[in-house]
Amino acid sequence: MSVRKIVTVVEEIHTEGGRAVAQPARVAVVAAVVANPWAGQGFVEDLAPGIEAHASDLGALLAPAVLDALGAPAEAYGKAAIVGLGGEIEHGSALIHTLKFGDHFRKAANATTLLPAVEKRGPAGVVFDIPLKHITDATIRSHHQSFEVRVSDAPHPDEIVIALAAAAQGRPQQRLAPLTTEQ
């Protein structure tokens, strides 16, 4: 896997809505800017060999890194694949929508649910929002959140940005009634 750079973003919210957050709310993202394995090959029918070659390695690279950056157990998580203008969104999806990729994060975070994802194609510097949900129960409403990311010089047309996001808690001032109160 040809990696150009690794970007880490950690946000810590201390006040929200004008009130202090009981414990500063942390969200971390680690993104790898990688060469699109299918760049310049025209329409590739079978993506499986490329997935086999790269997806697991990417998951193994990013999962421990994002948990380390978070510095706390993850309670919510998500993922992203942002494809440069020369590629297909299918190329990004190929790298993140397999168990080979996602199981590294699930195992490291003791998680069980599907990873919510954003897949998008755009120019270098495109802004993308990663959706996050609870790691063991995707219906836990307090943990529905998203996190905005931008890498100033990526993806190039022949690159893909692959990212994982982890939150140590739900939203900073979450106070919505849980889903069960409506069922």
Binding site: S2, V3, R4, K5, I6, V7, T8, V9, V10, E11, E12, I13, H14, T15, E16, A20, Q23, P24, R26, D68, A69, G71, A72, V127, E148, R150, V151, S152, A168
Partner: protein, 208 residues
């Protein structure tokens, strides 16, 4: 930012802290001889001078708020880059929201209450280069960095971007400290000691 920390001084009106770090693995297809990590840490705080007018004395708040920011931001930078010893170049920046003056941003980064302390915490000697602007939330600011003890070291002239998606609000200021552990990925544009003498007389083609 490896560990959760207690609330820093709430009296500075801190809303959030954002760390951005990048590590170049390859550039132009080759691994750098000296791989560097660069980081910026941004603090979003309430502008203490909103509504005070252009003749207001900025010094009391500046001497109270800036040292707290210097400590907070450099602490996070040092943790993110592996120690003050590892840091080779540094820079600073501020983005003031639209209800404030650029002078308010300057008050937080251009006085000894910030600059001297950042230099001391990062074990530098150089003047710290900077950028500042007034902008809406989400504006990116490119923060210049240069060598922390030998500012003219050309290999270390570089920048890192800082951006907070929802800040500054009109009544906020984003204050940034940034650093790098090394030079640009493939520095090869010489240095003062290798430069030829360049004047209009030495050039064969003089720009007109």
């Amino acid at each position: 930012m490896q560990e959760r920390t207690d609330h820093p001084d709430e009296n500075i009106g801190l809303r959030k802290l954002v760390l951005y770090r990048d590590t170049v693995v390859t550039e132009a297809g080759a691994t750098p001889a000296e791989p560097a990590r660069r980081a910026s840490v941004a603090a979003v705080i309430r502008n203490p001078w909103v509504g005070t007018g252009p003749s207001a004395d900025l010094s009391p708040e500046q001497s109270r708020v800036a040292p707290v920011l210097a400590r907070l931001l450099t602490g996070r930078l040092i943790a993110a880059l592996g120690g003050a010893d590892a840091i080779e170049s540094f820079g600073k920046a501020a983005i003031v929201g639209t209800a404030g003056e650029i002078e308010h941003a300057g008050a937080l980064i251009h006085t000894p209450y910030f600059g001297n302390l950042v230099r001391e915490f990062l074990q530098g000697e150089s003047i710290i280069c900077f950028a500042d602007t007034r902008a809406e939330a989400g504006e990116e600011l490119v923060v210049p960095l240069w060598h922390k003890t030998h500012a003219a070291t050309r290999s270390h002239y570089q920048t890192i971007s800082a951006r907070v998606s929802d800040a500054p609000r009109a009544d906020e200021i984003v204050v940034v400290a940034a650093a790098s552990t090394g030079p640009r990925p493939h520095p090869r544009i010489g240095d003062r000691v290798t430069d030829p003498v360049v004047t209009t007389e030495t050039l064969e083609v003089v720009p007109s």
